[in-house]
Symmetry: C2
Subunit: 193 residues, 2 copies
């Protein structure tokens, strides 16, 4: 088998990669972590950084499964904007919230309630921008599901198990979008594995 | 003129966009900021987020000036990895250092020396990875200058005016790479404007 993913099954970064493979209906071998996580091999190509890996998968396997990207440079530019918003803004709040509320208790550490409060405010400001955007297009990058949406899924899935769900529920378009992402067959498939 | 950039002439994000246009030898109109900075217009296309804008420029004007990307999916994947490293790791330390040491004094605020110390350590760890990488290839993404290098330039230029220069100077391959980036005609051109 040509494609190997090295990672932890609970890591959002690893799930981001596995989800892109599942959307592309590609077979892969999952290997428990080594070094930089997630690592990725496709034949002699070795990559790290989850968002670089999903971009590679989308481009290299453009003809398989869900498109995830657009061949139109202007449409792709819009998808690219929302990929940057995820990476630079959503993830900054979402990843830390997930860490404070879910990971810390698992490790026997104490959640910093003041930090959670501040991060929830930061996330709410990002989701206000999303609410306006998703009132105008079905997905962040346009009318089709793309990498811009996909990159959010693992952190959204984590946050939906916590009180932060209320921040999503307060925004109807964001809430419907999040529900659609979590109902994708590829996401159900990698979680059933 | 079809391309407009809305931004502040001192913003690293705006400089990132201007540098990609200069590398592509494209004409543009620079407009002082409005709302989200930098904003970008190419005809009817409106974008924000500097790294999404540079990607668009590189793809839409692939046949002009410096290539900046690769058409080979595997080479592009490697460039993509280092673009993610810049965005997720280098920028986290570099942007905050630039803010603490350069921006705060300009605004009459006090630099947080403990934060600077901690951020310098964080930057040093990133540059250790770069030193190893640049011992094997001329640029981060491979043998050719690419977006992976370009995205670093505005923050490196800022840091080189500060005591953080020593963190670069201590690493010979990183130091030579940084000097090559700052000597690019396109960078000199946008700073002379």
């Amino acid at each position: 088998m040509a494609i190997k993913v090295h990672g932890s099954p609970v890591s959002p970064a690893a799930k981001r990669v596995l989800l892109s493979l599942a959307e592309k209906q590609l077979d892969y071998e999952f290997v428990l972590p080594f070094g930089q996580v997630p690592g990725f091999e496709d034949g002699d190509l070795k990559l790290f950084e989850s968002r670089a890996i999903t971009r590679y998968i989308a481009h290299a396997y453009a003809d398989k499964g869900t498109p995830l990207i657009s061949e139109d440079p202007k449409k792709m530019a819009i998808i690219g904007v929302w990929m940057e918003v995820e990476s630079q803004r959503f993830d900054a709040a979402g990843q830390k919230l997930s860490f404070e509320i879910l990971v810390k208790p698992m490790k026997g550490l104490t959640t910093d309630d003041a930090a959670v409060e501040q991060l929830q405010g930061q996330l709410a400001a990002v989701l206000d921008v999303y609410e306006a955007r998703l009132g105008k297009s079905k997905y962040l990058g346009g009318e089709e599901f793309s990498l811009a949406d996909l990159h959010h899924v693992p952190i959204i899935a984590n946050l939906m198990k916590t009180k932060v769900k209320a921040v999503f529920d307060a925004r109807p378009a964001v809430s419907a979008w999040a529900a659609a992402l979590l109902a994708r067959p590829a996401w159900l498939k990698i979680n059933a594995a």
